[in-house]
Subunit: 331 residues, 2 copies
C-alpha cells in the first residue's frame, strides 16, 4: 500500500506550520491513469462528491422526465447547497410538485451555511427545516425516483430499491465492487471505492454523451446541468461554484466531506478524484485548483483560483501572516 | 528528521475514513523525554498554547502585583476565551482599571465563539469589539506589563520591550533559541520552538513553586490561576475547561491553533506538548485526552474524556455513523 503524499502546505512566516497529505488520480476515459499522487488504490468514501453518480438512476429510469424535472432540478440533485433561498425555494417547490412536504425527506435538519439566511433565522428565533440540509436536492431526487419505482417511504435504507439502484450505478461507473458502505451525514448510504475508481467514474461522466446508451446520456445530462447552474451546486462564494464558473464550461466539480474533491473534464475526456488523508477542506480545495491549473483547464491568475490555490492567512487586524499553497508535487 | 506518526483515527462504519499524524513529547522536569511520538525535534509554532509563557514577564516583573491583578486576571492572560460575558466583562473592567479602552488593544476584533453571545450580537445587528477576541486577556496582560515598562503603544511589534521580554522568557523556559517567529492571529509575535522545547517549558511550569526564584514563582502562579479558573481559560463546553475540571487539580491544559495542545502536570512533575501535523483541533483534543489517560491523571470514563477521546460522529438525524479515536500508538 503506497503512502499518502504531501499535497498542500500551510505557511506562516518562514515556517511550514502544517501540511496535508493525500491521494489523487487523473485518468482518461479508458480508465488509464494519466497522473497520480499517493495511493490510487486507497479505499475512500466519496461522500458528497458521488452525488452525480447517485443521480444516475433518477435520470436513466425515466423518473426525472416523468416528473418534468429541469436542468435546475438535476443540478440540485448533484448539489451540496448552502441553504440560500435560491436552493431552498426550488427544493420546496420540487417537493410540492411531487405532492410531498419537508416531512417526506429523510436527510435531517441542518443549519444553513449561507450567512444571510442563517442570520435571518437566528433573528427570527427560527429552526432549520430538512430542505435547508445541503443534501435536500439529492434527497428530492431520491423521492422522485422512489415515486417512479413505487418503493416504501424509508428510501435511505440500504436494501431499499432507491439505494440498490444507486449502488448498481456506483459499482458500474467506478468499475469495481464497493467493498463497504458508511452512513453519510444525510443518513443515506455512501459506498466506498478507490480513488482510482472514483476518478474512473468521473472520466465516464467526462466522455458521456458521445453516442453512449441510457446511462451515458444520463451522465451527460447531470454533468451539463451542473455546469449550467454552478450556483445551485453549492452557492455564492463556494469553491465548486466559483471554480466551475472559472472553468467556463470546461468542467464540472464537486466537493465531498472529509477532504474529497472530484472533477469531470469533458474537453480533456478526463476524470479527477482526490482525497486529503486528514479530511481538511482547505487542502482539498487547494489541491483541486492546483491540479486543474496543471492540466491547463483553469486560469492560474483567475481570482477564484488564487482564492483556493494561494489563499493568504490573515490575522484579525487584516495583516497577511502566511498562505496556503500546493506542495511541490502538484506544481 | 523523524516522520510524523499516526495519532488519531476517524472511522465511519468499517472504514478508516481519515487519519491524523503528529508529534508529541512527555518530559520530566530535567527535560528528559519520558515518552515521545513522531519527531520531538520538529519545529512548530506553539500558537496560543504559549500564553502562560507569554504571561511570565507580566508576573515576574512585578507589573501584575502593581496593578492589583487577581488569579482571575492571570487565568485570562493565559486564555483563548470564547467571548462570553464572564470573559468580556472582566477584560472590559481590567482595561478600565488601567485607564484604558478597547482602542488600546492591538489584537483586532473577533466574532465571539460563545453561541449565546454571538446570537445576541446578530440579533442586535452588532459588531464584535477587540475584547471579544479570544486573546484579549493576553493583550490586557501585555498592556499591564507595558504600563510597568513604559513602552510605546505598539506593544505587539517584535522589537517592543513587551515582546523582547516575552522572547527572553520563552527561550529560557523552552531551553533553546527560537529559530524564527510568525505573526499570530492576534497580531502578536509567536516564537517557534521544538515540540520537545515546548514540553520542557511545560515541565518547568509543572515543577515550579518548589523553591525556585522569581520566574519559577511566576510560573507557579500562572499555572495555579489556570487550574483555579478553568472556565476563564476557554469557556463552557470547551476542551481546556472541561478537561481541566476532570483533572481536578492534577493539571493545567492549553490549546493552540493548528493542532497544538500542552499540558502541565504538577503531580507527575511532567510537561506535555503535541502538534497535529495537519493542524486539526479534533485530533489535538483526542490525542491530548489519550495521553492524559495513558499517564494515569485523567479518568478514562469521565464524560469530558469520552467527548474528546471517542466522540461519536452523528448524522443530521442524530444516528451515530462512526467515531474519532486515538491511534494504537497512544493506547
Amino acid at each position: 500500500m503506497k503512502e499518502a503524499e504531501a499535497l498542500v502546505e500551510v505557511w506562516r512566516g518562514e515556517l511550514l506550520e502544517s501540511s496535508h497529505l493525500g491521494h489523487a488520480v487523473v485518468c482518461d476515459s479508458t480508465g488509464a491513469i494519466v497522473e497520480a499522487w499517493g495511493d490510487p488504490d486507497r479505499i475512500i468514501y466519496p461522500r458528497s462528491s458521488a452525488k452525480m453518480i447517485q443521480g444516475l438512476p433518477l435520470v436513466e429510469s425515466g423518473a426525472a422526465d416523468a416528473a418534468g424535472l429541469t436542468t435546475e432540478h438535476l443540478a440540485l440533485a448533484c448539489a451540496s447547497h448552502q441553504g440560500a433561498p435560491e436552493h431552498t425555494e426550488r427544493v420546496e417547490r420540487w417537493l410540492s410538485d411531487l405532492g410531498m412536504t419537508d416531512a417526506d425527506l429523510r436527510c435531517g435538519e441542518e443549519f444553513p451555511r449561507d450567512e444571510e439566511t442563517g442570520h435571518a433565522m437566528i433573528r427570527a428565533h427560527g429552526q432549520p427545516c430538512q430542505w435547508h440540509n445541503n443534501c435536500s436536492g439529492k434527497h428530492s431526487g431520491f423521492l422522485t425516483l422512489n415515486r417512479h419505482l413505487g418503493g416504501g417511504t424509508e428510501y435511505v435504507e440500504i436494501d431499499h430499491p432507491v439505494q440498490k439502484a444507486a449502488r448498481e450505478a456506483f459499482e458500474e461507473v467506478t468499475g469495481m465492487d464497493s467493498p463497504c458502505y458508511g452512513i453519510d451525514g444525510c443518513a443515506a448510504p455512501n459506498f466506498a471505492t478507490s480513488v482510482h475508481g472514483l476518478a474512473r467514474a468521473m472520466a465516464r461522466f467526462a466522455a458521456a454523451g458521445q453516442g453512449g446508451g441510457g446511462r451515458d446520456a444520463a451522465a451527460a445530462r447531470l454533468r451539463d446541468a451542473m455546469m449550467a447552474h454552478p450556483s445551485l451546486v453549492a452557492g455564492e462564494g463556494r469553491a465548486c461554484t466559483e471554480l466551475m464558473r472559472a472553468l467556463d464550461g470546461r468542467g464540472a466539480l464537486k466537493t465531498g466531506a472529509e477532504g474529497v474533491f472530484v472533477g469531470i473534464l469533458p474537453e480533456l475526456g478526463m476524470g479527477l478524484a482526490l482525497k486529503i488523508a486528514d479530511g481538511a477542506t482547505r487542502a482539498s480545495e487547494c489541491a483541486l485548483a492546483a491540479i486543474l491549473v496543471r492540466l491547463g483547464v483553469l486560469d492560474r491568475n483567475h481570482p477564484a483560483t488564487i482564492k483556493r490555490m494561494n489563499p493568504p492567512i490573515p490575522n484579525r487586524r487584516g495583516m497577511t501572516t502566511g498562505e496556503i499553497r500546493p506542495a511541490p508535487a502538484l506544481v
